[in-house]
């Protein structure tokens, strides 16, 4: 059977597998189960599935209560609500005691293209990253989602997982063993390093391909664990190159770009530029591509950022 390309579907299937593996896995939903694919878990384990209604704050604190009696709760909503509507609940009841609550931020970034800015999460990376002890993950494709899930089950402390709504191209290798926290090198290169995650990994690889035709060698790194960030790995991959570009489907304020610059502080490094959303909310659009183009989340934007930095280096 060919692996699914849809990240939500991969997530839902992964959650069912965890449910089979561990009877303490429980799921909470806020009336978006068909979309987040938590309904796959509901079908298998109805007694361990809690439809909490459209009440994300109560869902988050209820998840904390379940974790406090030994359960491993996965709570679901769109990323914008999971991180924003329930922020105070996650901060206090979950992060202060470091509980094993897993937050599925589904339809992350601009991926819910039709619903517009109220439903698109561009600040979630910054606000989740700011919570002490919160792990923040942003997988690049369905293969990575599938590999991530068992690691999420065993991980100590809260985890925020960004799940794209759409089918994304396969970019991560199937064979490699997986662990949270690793910076994955997907393409070797010596002139520039591009640190990307989520949908921007495939676009960074496209950019590297285009730049190679012009004789520019670009290293592409998948930083699917934004926090805890492997600082040594980021510094090592930033060494020797003449340009560093980050690429993310999030506000550049507080996102992956910020995290990479935080990592390389205090060491000599090449100039850095960010590809991401520039302090803006999203919008409704006919399709995802149009929206990504509109906000400059393209292979071309990555290519141009590399070229611009190399020209000034």
């Amino acid at each position: 059977m060919a692996p699914v390309k849809n990240l939500r579907e991969a997530y839902g299937q992964g959650l069912v597998a965890l449910g089979k593996q561990n009877r303490n896995v429980v799921a909470l939903e806020a009336d978006l189960g068909k979309s987040t694919r938590s309904i796959l878990f509901q079908a298998e384990f109805p007694e361990r599935y809690f439809e909490m209604g459209i009440a994300e704050q109560n869902m988050a604190s209820t998840a904390a209560g379940l974790a406090l009696v030994g359960k491993i709760p996965f709570m679901h909503s769109f990323a914008v609500f999971a991180s924003g509507r329930a922020f105070d609940q996650l901060r206090n009841a979950v992060c202060i005691p470091g509980l094993n609550v897993r937050i599925c931020g589904s339809s992350c970034g601009l991926s819910d293209f039709g619903d517009g800015k109220t439903h698109q999460a561009l600040e979630d990376v910054a606000i989740m990253r700011a919570l002490p002890g919160m792990t923040v993950l942003s997988p690049a494709d369905a293969i990575e989602v599938a590999k991530m899930m068992p690691c999420v089950l065993d991980w100590k402390g809260p985890v925020y997982l960004r799940i794209n709504r759409n089918d994304l191209p396969f970019v991560t290798p199937e064979s490699e063993s997986y662990h949270i926290g690793k910076v994955w090198k997907l393409r070797e290169g010596s002139d520039a390093a591009v640190f990307a995650n989520g949908i921007m990994v495939s676009r960074a690889l496209e950019a590297a391909e285009a730049l190679a035709k012009g004789g520019v060698s670009v290293r592409v790194l998948n930083v699917s664990t934004i926090k805890p960030l492997d600082r040594d790995a980021i510094i090592a991959h930033a060494q020797g190159v003449r340009a560093i570009v980050t690429a993310e489907e999030a506000n550049i304020i507080g996102g992956l770009g910020s995290a990479v610059v935080e990592a390389v502080r205090g060491v000599r490094h090449a100039p850095v530029d960010f590809v991401g959303v520039r302090d803006s909310f999203g919008a409704s659009a006919e399709n995802y591509e149009i929206l990504l183009d509109h906000y400059g989340l393209t292979a071309r934007a990555v290519t141009e950022a590399v070229q611009r930095l190399l020209a000034t280096a």
Binding site: V26, E47, R48, F50, M52, G53, A55, Q57, N58, A60, S61, T62, A63, A64, G65, L66, A67, L68, V69, G70, K71, P73, D88, Q89, R91, N92, A93, I96, P97, G98
Partner: protein, 282 residues
């Protein structure tokens, strides 16, 4: 009928808990006196009579859970845990200090015996619902107690939880509303009046019992009645006096988080001592 010796013992414990709270706050420092001591009898009853709680085994998975959604009243919970020997008595002198174990609000990462992190108001009932659901999944007979303030009832999340618990037919959960009718900046009826509290809980699907929260026998009877309710949760609306047992703090919003002078501290201790002596003569 509740045994009179039990009632008298718990009344004395309540006075001791209040005394501990006054000692914790001390002189010249702000502390949540009023809403802590309004819970004197309720906390004494839960920790020294009603709950399955073994101070030697505070992580026993079969224990009952005590959640203070109105986390600012945690001083009264500290007092109970000090009297049980779970928290060292020496900590009474270093509440809200960097070196101490006792934070301004319940912090399970720091303080033994705390069941959750609460204090950002309106969240405790939701946490309690989660615990109750998890305990039921594991077929444990543990009960979850969640104490809320009447001022806190203006938090919307609390009503989300109030809807959720009956939906899941949670009956191992007892809510307690400490209806002392004073919130941080004044009487609840002036600040944010919430009329017909009992009818609201009933409409959300809860069994509701109203009691005098300082009447030990009545509170015990209410807690026992709550245990017998099947298929839905119970809330006990406990009418209490904010600042109970300390005359200058009673019904006084200034002592929601007030500062006692040396003279007030002495007066509080004298009044509590007098009450203790009175109870010992019974």
């Amino acid at each position: 009928m509740v045994n009179q010796d039990t009632v008298n013992r718990l009344r004395r414990i309540a006075v001791q808990l209040r005394t501990d709270v006054v000692e914790m706050i001390g002189v010249g420092k702000a502390g949540h006196l009023g809403g802590s001591v309004s819970l004197g009898e309720i906390v004494a009853i839960l920790y020294f009579h009603q709950m399955r709680f073994d101070p030697k085994r505070i992580t026993d998975p079969n224990r009952d859970r005590f959640l203070l959604s109105k986390g600012h009243a945690v001083l009264i919970q500290y007092a109970a845990l000090i009297e049980h020997g779970v928290i060292p008595r020496a900590e009474i002198k270093q509440v809200k200090t960097l070196a101490g174990l006792l934070q301004g609000h319940p912090d399970m990462a720091k303080t033994p015996g705390m069941e959750a992190v609460t204090g950002s108001l309106g969240q405790g009932l939701s946490i309690g619902v989660g615990m109750a659901l998890g305990l039921r999944l594991d077929q444990r007979s543990s009960r979850v107690y969640v104490i809320m303030g009447d001022g806190e009832l203006s938090e919307g999340q609390l009503w989300e939880a109030a809807m959720a618990a009956p939906r899941f037919q949670v009956d191992n959960l007892t809510g307690i509303v400490d209806r002392n009718r004073i919130q941080a900046t004044g009487p609840t009826k002036d600040i944010f009046d919430i009329p017909n509290i009992e009818q609201k809980w009933e409409a959300f699907g809860w069994q509701v019992i109203t009691v005098n929260g300082h009447d030990v026998a009545a509170v015990i009877e209410a807690l026992e009645a709550a245990e017998k309710v099947k298929g839905r949760p119970t809330v006990i609306v406990a009418d209490t006096v904010k600042g109970k047992g300390i005359s200058f703090a009673e019904h006084n919003a200034a002592f929601h988080n007030g500062i006692m002078t040396e003279e007030q501290y002495r007066q509080a201790m004298a009044e509590l001592d007098a009450r203790r002596a009175e109870l010992e003569r019974l």
